[in-house]
């Protein structure tokens, strides 16, 4: 990381980790702060890229909205760490 300017501040890493719902410890925040400075500095070269018109040949893919077989409720719940009365059980919403 450059000495004169901190490209990334630890507070920014904490903010992004909060948005991404990853509970980093202090040591990780320090490590990612340095690492992200290097990587984001490298991404800066994208500034040189000219604006380009994308010629996308996109088409909507539609199908009739028909009922068909799907997983049973029990199968869908099979991998859930916790379930109750046929539903996924999550933590409290506060």
């Amino acid at each position: 990381m450059s000495d004169t300017e901190n490209v990334v501040e630890p507070e920014e890493v904490r903010h992004v980790a909060d948005l991404a719902r990853i509970d980093l410890d202090d040591e990780e925040v320090d490590r990612f702060t340095d690492k992200f400075a290097d990587i984001l500095e490298y991404f800066e070269t994208l500034d040189e890229v000219p604006e380009v018109d994308a010629e996308e040949d996109l088409a909507n893919v539609m199908r009739p909205d028909e009922v068909r077989d799907s997983l049973s409720q029990a199968e869908a719940l099979d991998n859930a760490p916790e379930s109750e009365d046929g539903y996924f059980k999550g933590p409290n919403v506060s």
């Binding site: 991404a20 994208l46 500034d47 018109d53 869908a76 996924f88």
Partner: protein
């Protein structure tokens, strides 16, 4: 049937139909491809005990074709790596280059084929993850045109870039496996029918492996050789000489846009990953950590525990690149670069049948060498990432070895749905 080089995460056998083009053939499957009733970990502690309730479309097609799946192969966690060292189940060692990485992220798939522990394998390729390990392990790998193969049942890393691809000892075998998995799927709306693009015989890949390169015109992008290791370029030019002696000719092309491919790829892939991996909250599947309390804090602790360093890093950088104030600077510019690369690669393919380069700019790294320096690892993807950004197909074929005996791969890139062109050209070498 575990292997000393740690190629498999799970070795539960799945039997296919009695008859079919792949009857009597073993096809190992990368562990981010869903197998009904057999755990699918993505190389992550987060999915340590996840057992899919359904098969990916490509697995259904393998079983219908009579293949036996001997196990699920090791990989970089969620496909995020170039060396198969970020797996929560330990690194895979290169079975043909002791002490070196097998490439990644489909390192287990290439390793079991190279070691003869499976006849063929499936990998996934988001920025080179089939071709890199094929090159490093001395086998063949194909990254199909975007939309040729169904992604239904693949655990998503970066949807706009990834395809399932075959790995095999020879081009002809890889082409046979591609024939089985290719074709439209109503469960993946991004799949296309190749016969609409390339005619009636679009899917006859194995027949195209006839080694005939007489009259083949090869374009060589100089940007993909400039930064490459001399040990690699020496082998590359020998292979081009070989093709020339059999009637092919080449010219160099200058594609300035390729200098921005690695940055454009990582910004795009990380951004998509930050959204895709939001589903791992430990409620419907995955490790919950058993925490109580506030919803968001509980998820954050489960994700802190379940994800490894590289996955956290990419999810956070992707979140950053999409966050308010940075979207235009990173994500939008990456999409401009992608459009530029796509346009210029297609233009170059107007004047050439295929584009050739070394698959990897370096020979296989020593184990442990690149983990501490992510940028060096990212730069190893310089030659493979343009292909995913342009939605076109590419093959990596063994080109020879360095003086030190390390495998070197040659990459051939073709136009969209031009799989037969790269298979034909590649079959002249392997």
């Amino acid at each position: 049937m575990s292997t000393e080089y740690n190629g498999y995460i799970t070795t539960e056998r799945i039997d296919g139909a009695d008859d079919g083009p792949l009857a009597g053939t073993t096809v190992a499957v990368k562990d981010n491809i869903s197998t009904e009733g057999v755990r699918t970990t993505c190389g992550s502690a987060m999915l340590d005990d996840y057992v899919p309730p359904f098969d990916a479309t490509v697995v259904e097609r393998l079983k219908e074709a009579g293949a036996t799946i001997p196990g699920k192969t090791n990989m970089d966690e969620f496909g995020m790596g170039t060396t198969t060292e970020t797996s929560a189940f330990g690194p895979t060692e290169n079975p043909v280059a002791e002490g070196h990485v097998p490439g990644g992220s489909s390192g287990g798939s290439a390793a079991v084929v190279a070691a003869g522990d499976a006849d063929m394998a499936l990998g996934t390729d988001t920025g080179g993850s089939v071709r890199a390990p094929a090159a490093f392990c001395g086998v063949v790998g194909i990254k199909p045109t975007y939309g040729l193969v169904s992604r239904y049942g693949i655990v998503a890393y970066a949807n706009s870039l990834e395809q399932v691809g075959p790995i095999a000892p020879t081009v002809e075998e890889a082409a046979e496996l591609l024939e089985v998995i290719a074709g439209p799927d109503e469960r993946d709306a991004t799949t296309r029918d190749a016969t609409n693009e390339a005619g009636e015989s679009a899917y006859d890949y194995a027949a195209a492996a006839d080694g005939d390169v007489d009259g083949l015109e090869i374009g060589i992008p100089t940007e993909l050789l400039d930064g490459a290791d001399e040990r690699v370029t020496d082998v590359f030019w020998d292979a081009i000489d070989d093709l020339e002696s059999r009637g092919a000719s080449y010219h160099e092309v200058d594609l300035e846009c390729l200098r921005y491919a690695v940055e454009a790829y990582y910004v795009t892939a990380m951004s998509e990953a930050s959204s895709n991996l939001a589903r791992f909250d430990g409620v419907r599947y995955g490790q919950s950590g058993g925490y109580d309390g506030n919803w968001n804090e509980t998820f954050a602790r489960a994700r802190e525990e379940g994800f490894g360093e590289e996955v956290k890093s990419r999810v956070l950088l992707g979140t950053y690149a999409l966050s308010a104030g940075y979207h235009d600077k990173y994500y939008k510019k990456a999409q401009d670069a992608r459009a530029w690369i796509k346009r210029d690669i297609n233009d170059a393919l107007e004047g050439a049948d295929v584009l050739a380069s070394p698959t990897m700019p370096v020979p296989p790294m020593e184990m442990g060498e690149s983990l501490s320096d992510p940028l060096t690892m990212y730069l190893a993807d310089a030659n493979t990432t343009p292909v995913n950004l342009a939605n076109v197909p590419a093959i990596s074929v063994p080109a020879g070895e360095t003086d030190g005996g390390l495998p070197v791969g040659l990459q051939l890139v073709g136009p969209a749905f031009g799989e037969k062109d790269i298979i034909r050209a590649g079959s002249a070498l392997a």
